[in-house]
């Protein structure tokens, strides 16, 4: 039941407002508890004005014809978040030790840790899911013409995100350090080395020297869990900012409604 506000009283009849430290407050602990959430949000918002930004980000106008294809970007982001969360917890068990420790730590996670096989599976299969979703999202953007002015920069950021996702897949593939991981990385680094002039130096950078060496695995591990995820998170932020700033495009089959005044002048 909505409560009506009390009728206005002359100020002389009003009770004085409660003073700080005045014990005569009529609010019970239940009222305080009810208000706790709102007051915490208020406290933060008063100091940050973040609610405006949140509203700007979340309550956007979307064009007519918006459909399920528009969820592919969010799906990709959730795949990334899945990789981030499961990756952090896998990192608590992983040892980047090329003389057997890396393989052993993965075996330990998979076979002995509670839910280890499941969480590692989420990370392993999630990476494929993420790559697939990235490409579907990219295809949606391409076929809907959503890369056109003024969204070119967001397309460029998206392509960088695609490359970084590939780099994540490549660097993560070595970490189990079994035969497949080792040889796939040898082949991958050598493919990278086929770039003329700078290719061989890039290979040296990836391996940390001329041969697959003692620090190659820790190098890949650092690239996989520190360097690229940081870049990915920052660029996803920029990507989302531009989406919110520019809005989404209508699907190509939605025709723009003409202004009636303009229609008359067309005739």
């Amino acid at each position: 039941m909505p409560k009506l506000p009390p009728p206005p009283l002359p100020s002389a009849l009003k009770a004085p407002p409660p003073r700080p430290g005045d014990p005569g407050s009529k609010l019970g602990p239940a009222d305080h508890a009810k208000e706790a959430g709102a007051s915490v949000v208020d406290w933060v918002d008063e100091r940050t004005s973040i609610s405006g930004a949140a509203r700007w980000m979340m309550f956007r106008k979307v064009p007519r014809g918006t459909n399920w294809f528009y969820t592919l970007g969010s799906a990709t982001m959730f795949a990334f978040l899945n990789q981030a969360v499961t990756g952090v917890f896998l990192a608590m068990f992983y040892r980047p030790d090329p003389s057997g420790g890396a393989y052993e730590s993965i075996r330990h996670v998979t076979n002995e840790v509670f839910l280890g096989q499941f969480v590692r599976g989420m990370h392993k299969w999630g990476s494929s899911v993420m790559v697939i979703l990235v490409f579907l999202h990219m295809a949606r953007t391409f076929f809907f013409g959503a890369y056109k002015y003024p969204r070119e920069l967001n397309w460029v950021i998206g392509v960088v995100l695609l490359i970084l996702t590939m780099l994540m897949s490549f660097s993560g593939y070595l970490l189990p350090f079994d035969q497949r991981a080792y040889w796939a990385t040898i082949v991958g680094v050598n493919i990278n080395g086929t770039g003329p002039l700078i290719g061989p130096y890039l290979s040296d950078f990836l391996r940390g020297g001329g041969e697959f060496g003692a620090t190659t695995l820790s190098r890949f591990y650092a690239i996989h869990m520190l360097l690229v995820p940081g870049l990915l998170a920052a660029l996803i932020g920029a990507h989302l900012y531009l989406v919110a700033k520019l809005g989404t495009t209508a699907p190509p089959w939605i025709k723009a409604e003409k202004n009636p005044e303009l229609r008359e002048s067309d005739a």
Partner: protein, 220 residues
């Protein structure tokens, strides 16, 4: 247009009656402070970025160590067939640092490349010149065969089929007290001329040797 733009204005802050960085200067105080704080920020950023960057790319310019590793007595290796031996390319990382090297005695009837004291024994790497997978010497076929993408090499390590861009790399060998030792790797072009070692997939014929230059991390 006002005459403000057409008039010549003095470059000196004192003439324009605004505060300068110091007397008789053309730079305003505001501009001086802007440049100064940006320069300070640049110096602060460079002081951690440059060492970190140098640290990260340092291994590119580090020269590989030169080692000799004994693989067996001279009479262990015939001159018409290969004997697989295992050497350690990278110490300290267990199996991952080891590699198979195929060794045989030099045979003047089939080895037509330049003979010197470093090639009395022919040591051929198992690293495929396509993308670095391990090749296997198949005795019956007298071919080195790569399982990954179908590279095939003959007895001298020259490509006879598949995608490899140059023959299999070789190692310098020497004999010490009747034992064969294996030294550094070198690459060869299709004429079996020697080049400093390259990574797989880097051709050495034509302009290949300039497109894929020799690097300190590989040179020995």
């Amino acid at each position: 247009m006002s005459d403000k733009h057409s008039q010549h204005k003095s470059r000196y802050t004192t003439d324009r009656q605004i505060p300068g960085a110091f007397e008789g200067e053309t730079v305003t105080r505001r501009r001086f402070m802007t440049i100064g704080s940006q320069a300070a920020g640049g110096v602060a950023a460079a002081s951690f970025l440059l060492p970190a960057l140098g640290f990260a790319i340092g291994p590119i310019f580090k020269e590989a160590p030169h080692t000799w590793e004994t693989v067996g007595p001279t009479d262990m290796f015939p001159d018409n067939n290969y004997v697989p031996t295992v050497i350690t390319l990278t110490p300290g990382i267990g199996e991952a640092g080891k590699a198979t090297v195929y060794v045989r005695k030099r045979n003047p009837l089939i080895d037509t490349d330049k003979a010197d004291k470093d090639t009395q024994f022919i040591a051929i790497t198992s690293r495929c010149a396509h993308l670095g997978c391990p090749v296997r010497w198949v005795d019956a076929a007298e071919r080195f065969i790569c399982p990954c993408h179908g590279g095939v090499y003959d007895l001298l390590g020259r490509r006879v089929g598949g995608p490899p861009v140059r023959p299999l790399d070789r190692f310098y060998t020497r004999v010490v007290n009747g034992y064969v030792q294996i030294g550094s790797r070198y690459s060869v072009n299709s004429e079996l001329e020697r080049f400093s070692p390259r990574d797989p997939a880097e051709p050495l014929d034509g302009i290949g040797q300039y497109m894929y230059p020799s690097r300190p991390s590989e040179r020995r």
